[in-house]
């Protein structure tokens, strides 16, 4: 497969980007695909998945300008046909595809270095050496984006390997929100290897809303890396729905003092879908604050795994971190595993976690029944209520269809 990767890279218009991708080639070659023997992959059997059986796919190397939408500041849209359209209505941001327009950019290197320090599995490495599409958002220093920036990738409808490298840079003092939409609904049998890297500069603020909606023939693997500087603020909210396999890690690397990170997620696998989510709150220096809240429900024969880690380095005094994972098990054959972990190397901190695995409360069902709701309606109201804490974080403009798809 690596030969084909080279072929693809040779086609990149930006030689600088091709060179950057080439840097982790050796590590990729040396590494084997993860197996059940690897701790982080222990509960997700990839035995059925042969990455080399998926032909690599690449989006067009030219983009068309489209009229800017009033609802967002900029929009990067990859259509199912492989065409890319980019629009922006403000000079506060840059928006481009790295395969075409990447030029030397120190922050890009900084983030990539951080990414490679914490991700060493073959999927993550694969996601750094090759891309079907590589949207880059850059918010210039001290600019405040009042409207969101949207990245919308529609998956191809054939059996392919699809690699997305999405990079978001919110530079010092800037403020932005980015909606990333991976739309694979009703499309082909896919292996989507997604890399999202976010940089939040000093005193900057970023909200990321990741919506991943897929079809039952799809495999989704994600390596998401957030790199935060002094007094930076980040919220990274994800919603996953529909793929046969969803396995991702969201790693928040708090490199700066006084930074504040929130990671939230909802997932609701059904039939025999499998979801495996790992979150890492990494506190490297002092006075940083993090909260992770992941809520899942499983039904039918579905299986979910949540692995959460709070890691506090020796210098990270005055850390405040909390990790929550709630699971609702809605059928006897469904299963939810929750594995929260702490790795702490300082004494000066407030740090804890809470995990629950439970069923729908009979008293709540009975209460809603006496109000006229049949048990099916009552149950879906309770599930919706259960997810509300995270769903309410999504912007109103995209919330209703999300809710409907999640709960359908």
């Amino acid at each position: 497969m690596i030969d084909h990767i080279e072929e693809h890279r040779n086609q990149y218009k930006s030689k600088a980007f091709a060179e950057l991708c080439n840097q982790s080639k050796k590590s990729y070659e040396k590494t084997s695909w993860p197996t059940l023997q690897d701790e982080e992959w222990r509960r997700t059997d990839l035995g059925y998945l042969d990455p080399s059986s998926f032909p690599l796919w690449q989006a067009s190397q030219s983009s068309s300008e489209m009229a800017g939408s009033e609802d967002c500041l900029g929009e990067y849209v990859l259509g199912q046909d492989g065409n890319i359209s980019i629009s922006k209505t403000s000079d506060d941001i840059e928006l481009y595809d790295a395969r075409m327009n990447y030029k030397e950019f120190p922050l890009f290197n900084h983030v990539r270095k951080g990414f490679l320090e914490v991700f060493d599995d073959k999927f993550a490495l694969w996601s750094t050496i090759w891309a079907s599409t590589a949207p880059v958002v850059r918010v210039l220093p001290n600019r405040e984006c009042k409207k969101p920036i949207q990245i919308r990738l529609q998956m191809p409808s054939e059996k392919v390997a699809f690699g997305s490298q999405t990079s978001v840079f919110v530079e010092d003092g800037a403020k932005a929100s980015v909606i990333i939409n991976f739309d694979g609904v009703g499309k082909g049998e896919l292996l989507h290897n997604a890399n999202i890297s976010c940089y939040v500069g000093n005193n900057a603020s970023l909200d990321v809303f990741l919506v991943h909606e897929d079809n039952i023939d799809s495999n989704f693997i994600g390596s998401f890396y957030n790199c935060m500087q002094n007094d930076a603020r980040l919220r990274f909210v994800s919603l996953n729905r529909g793929a046969m396999l969803t396995k991702y890690t969201v790693y928040t690397d708090m490199q700066g003092q006084g930074s504040e990170a929130h990671m939230d997620g909802v997932f609701f696998p059904r039939s025999d879908e499998h979801v495996d989510i790992r979150s890492v709150q990494r506190h490297r220096v002092g006075k940083s604050f993090s909260r992770a809240l992941f809520k899942g429900a499983v039904i039918d024969e579905a299986h979910s795994v949540f692995q959460g880690l709070i890691q506090v380095d020796p210098k990270a005094n005055d850390t405040d971190a909390y990790l929550t994972n709630n699971n609702l098990v809605l059928s006897n054959s469904a299963r939810a595993d929750s594995i929260p972990m702490l790795k702490i190397e300082t004494n000066d901190l407030r740090c804890s976690h809470g995990a629950t695995i439970g069923k729908i409360d009979e008293q709540q069902l009975n209460y809603l029944g006496t109000r006229g709701l049949d048990s099916e309606t009552a149950q879906s109201m309770l599930i919706e209520g259960y997810f509300e804490e995270v769903l309410s974080l999504f912007p109103d403009a995209i919330l209703e269809p999300l809710k409907q798809n999640l709960l359908a």
């Binding site: 209460y367 006496t370 109000r371 006229g372 709701l373 049949d374 309606t377 919706e384 997810f387």
Partner: protein, 252 residues
């Protein structure tokens, strides 16, 4: 509406709690069910509303139709409403969304009512002296005891049942809250609405003047009468009930 309970018995696990309750209530009437703790009053309310945590036998007829095997939501559709003693919280579901949903479920074809829902809700909240901001709060989540009780009555006003059972709605309320709750019941009271008040205290009865009073003892209604029965209980307590029915019960 006429509700006729005939020989209703109920169990929780192995514990035999109701041992044959007979009672007839109608719209247009206000009844009170009194009795000591553990006499089976709340169990009776739960059985009337089909709570699946209980096993029960007997007959409950609503306008001649047997409902003992119906699900709770089917009983609600007949026009029955239970104000819970301990209303559960429904986190993540706002009062407004919840009420709209249940209202539209109970009145699917009444376009006029659906249209005026928000106006009705706001007016009813004012009437019950509930802050309008509660519309956006999650149902009963973090509410005080008194707020929960008022919320039950607000739901009753919005859903307009034909018959309501208020399970110790007056417990734990200060006198002002009690007056407001009573006001809610009075608002609905008429020829097409009736209520059964389950209570320990006379004070709510001062505001609602029930015509019928029943005393429950060890899983049976042992005495029914008029308001004077309440006065007797207030004056003499339950000792005479125990004396009169305790032994009879022991030998039965």
């Amino acid at each position: 509406m006429v509700i006729e309970c005939k020989n209703v018995e109920a169990w929780v696990e192995d514990s035999h709690i109701l041992k044959g309750v007979n009672l007839v209530v109608r719209s247009g009437e206000i009844h009170t069910l009194m009795g000591k703790n553990g006499s089976g009053k709340s169990t009776f309310a739960n059985v009337l509303f089909g709570n699946p945590s209980y096993t029960y036998t007997g007959s409950i007829l609503v306008d001649g139709e047997e409902i003992i095997d119906l699900e709770p939501h089917e009983r609600a559709a007949k026009g029955l409403f239970l104000a819970f003693q301990y209303p559960v919280a429904i986190p993540g579901v706002t009062v407004g969304r919840f009420l709209k949903r249940v209202h539209d479920t109970l009145y699917p074809d009444d376009l006029e009512r659906k249209k005026s829902f928000v106006k009705n809700l706001r007016e009813s909240m004012d009437f019950m002296e509930i802050d309008q901001q509660f519309i956006n709060r999650y149902l009963n989540d973090g509410f005080s005891g008194g707020e929960k009780k008022r919320m039950e009555i607000l739901q009753m006003l919005i859903l307009r049942p034909k018959f309501a059972v208020l399970d110790e709605t007056d417990s734990g309320l200060d006198i002002d809250a009690l007056k407001i709750v009573a006001r809610g019941v009075k608002e609905l009271y008429g020829s097409d609405f009736g209520a059964l008040l389950i209570t320990h205290y006379q004070r709510i009865l001062d505001y609602l003047n029930p015509q019928h009073v029943h005393i429950m003892y060890k899983g049976r209604i042992v005495r029914s009468g008029g308001p004077d029965l309440v006065a007797q209980l207030e004056q003499d307590g339950y000792e005479w009930v125990e004396k009169e029915f305790g032994e009879a019960h022991a030998t039965s």
